[in-house]
Amino acid sequence: MNKIGEIVESTSTEFTAECYELHELPALGSLVKVTAVEMEIFGIVCQSGTAGIEPGRHPVARGKDEASEEAVYQSSPQLIKLLRSEFQVLVVGHIINGKTYQYLPSKPAHIHAFVQACSPEDIKQFSQSFDFLNIMLNNRLQIPTEELVAAGLREMSKAHADPHAFLIAAGKSLTVIFSGDYHRLKTILARLKQ
C-alpha cells in the first residue's frame, strides 16, 4: 500500500492528514484515496504545509552559519521531530463496489485512516466524468478555486494516454459550468494549457 499520510482531522467535506515523512507532501491537486468501511473515499489535495508541532512555538531561523538547508537539519536533528507536514484534502467522491459516485460519501473518513496516493488506473476510473468539478468550485477554500481546479485537472491528465484530449474534454465541461462567467473560465483555461 502506497500510504502517504494518516488522517488527523475529518469532516464530511474534507480531511487533514499528517505526512509520515517531513516535507513528503502530495502535489497540490493530486487525487488521493482513503479506504473506509465498504467504500473508498476520494479527495483532491487542496492545501498543504509544514509547521511546528506545538501551536505556541514558532520555528526560528537556524541557518545563519550553515552552508545549505540540509546542513541546518543535520546540525539540529531534533527538527524532524518538532516539525510536521500536513495536507488538507477536499472530498470529491467515493467508490462503492467498484462504482464511482462523484458526490460526498454518507460518512466521513475515520481519524487515523491511511491516505494513499492514487494509481493511474484509479485516476482514470475516477476521472471518467467531470461532475466532481462542481464540488471543487462550490467550496470556500483558502486557495483560489481556479488554481485548484486547474492543478487538479493537470495532475489527472498525466494519468491519461492523451492528456490533451482529456484537458479539452474537461475544458468543455468547465465551459458549461461557467456559461455565464467567461472571464473566470478564461482564467482556468489559461492555467490548463500545457
Binding site: L167, I168, G171, K172, S179, D181, Y182, H183, L185, K193
Partner: protein
Amino acid sequence: METQPNQNLGIVVTGSVEKGTEVRLDSSASVEDMVVGRYVTIEGKKRRFFGMVTDISLGVTDEQITISPPDTSDTFTAEILEGTATYGTLHVLPMLTIGGEVTTINEGPQPVKTVPSHFSRVKLASEADMETVFGKEDNSRFFIGNPLDMETKLCLNLEELVKRSNGIFGKSGTGKTFLTRLLLIGMLQKSKATNLIFDMHNEYGWAGSFEGGKGGVKALKQLFPSRVAVFTLDEENSRHRGVSTDFVVRIGYDEIEPEDIGLLRQTLNLTDQAVEAVYQLKRHFGKGWMQQTLDISDAADVETLLQSMNIHESSFANLKRGLATIRRLPFLVAHAQTNAVDSILGYLDRGINVVLEFGRHRDITTYMLVANMLARRIYQRYQEKTEVAMAGKVTPPTPLVITIEEAHKFLNHDIANQTIFGEIAREMRKYNVTLLVIDQRPSAIDEEIMSQLGTKITCLLDNERDIDSVLAGVSGKNDLKTVLARLAPKQQALIFGHAVPMPVAFRPRDWGTAKSYEEFTHENSSEKKAEKDIKELFE
C-alpha cells in the same frame, strides 16, 4: 471532417410550426459543412420530419466571448469553446412528416402540422429518405437533377407536372434554357402530354447555344428525331443553320383578327381609337379586312369610309402605320396556301412535339403576334374537342403544353386579360392545355396568373420584387428567400409547388456531353429494352 448522411448534426432546441425549428449543432459537426438548402431529417418521438436548412447562424452562451474573444493563436481555448460556449445553429423548416399514425403511413409524406419535440435528433437526409419523399425514377418520374450537395436523384412526377401550368424563372444567363430543355425532354419521355414550343431564340428544336462552350449543344429534334417536328417562320435562316425543318409557316392576312392587333397595341404604339377602328373595319370588310384597309389609297374613298364608320382620320393613319409594320413581316402573305394551325394540330394529335422556330424574326412584335394567333386557334380546337369528349363518345385530346418565352410580355397586368395565354393559365387545365412560362422578370407577370402556376422552377433571382412575386403564397416564404438568393449564378435552381412534395434546391443534370445524350436517349429506349428482354427470356 465531412458530414456524412446519417451523421447526427445536432438537436432541436426551439421551434414553431410557422417559423421552423432551431437546431443546435453538435460540436462534431462543422458549421462550415452546412449549406442552406440542404435536407435533414428530424427524428421526433412519434414521427420523422423532413425539412430543409434555411439559415445557419453562430451563437454564444456568453456575450462576453464576442467582446473579448480568445487570442487566435490560442487553439486550446478555441478548441474548448467550440461547440460549447460558441456553437452553430441551423434553422430548419420542417416540411413533411413521414410515418406517425397507422392511417397515414401508406399515404406517404404528409404536410407538417406540428413541430418535433425538444431535443429530437437531426440528421442529414439519406438517399433512402429522399427516395421516400421524391420517389424513384420510373415511368412517370423523370430525373431532373441532384439536390444540392447530394448524389441522390431528384425525380419529378411529370404527369402531375403537366396537369397545371408551370413557370421557369431566373435572371438572364442562369440556365433557364437548359432547364427548359431538360423539362421538355422529360415531358417528351415520361408524360403523355405533347409540347408546342414557341422558340423565340431557336434553342429548343435544333442545336442550341450555351454560354462559354464551343459549338452548340444538341436539342430535341437531334435527340428524338421521330418525336419532334420543327416548324419555322424563317426558312432561309433554318437552312443556314442546317436545321431539317418539317414545315414552313406562312400566315395569311386573312388569318389576322382584330384581337391580334389589340394585343399589339403597345408594341405597335396604337391608340385606343385605332384599335377600336380595327373591329369596325373587320365588320365592314369581313375576312379580308387587313388587305383591303391597306389597299385603300384614294383619298376620297378613305374619307367616305371613315365618315361612314365615324373613325377619326388620325386614328386611321395611326392604324395604317401599325398594319404596315406587320405587313413587312416576310412570313405574312396575302393568302396562305397551307394552314399552319391544322398542320401543327396534325402533328400534336399524332403525339409529335412541335417546335416553332422564329429564325431571324426575334422581335417581340412578331413573337407575340404569331404565338398569340396560333395559340388562340389551337386553344379553340382543344376546347371544341374536349367539349365533344365531355359529352361522352370520344376520348379527350392528348394534353398539350405550350411553352412561351418572355412571358411577361403576354401576361403582364395590362394585357393578361386579352391574350389567350392569360386564359390558358387561368382555366385551360380543364381543356387539357397548360402553359410552360419562361421569364426573367416574374414581377411583371400578372399576379393572378402567377398564383395559378402549379409548379415553379426558379434559378437565381436577385431583384427583390421578382423574388417576392415568385414566392408569393408559398409557406415558409422568408426561409425560401434566403435559399433562392443564395443559389449559384449558374446551374442551380429551386423547385416548388404542385409537382414536388416540398421545395428543393437542385443542380440540373448534365446536358451537352455525349454521355448525357446517351443517357437521355437510353432512357427513351428503356421500354423497348424491357420488351426485348422479355422476348429473350421466352425464346
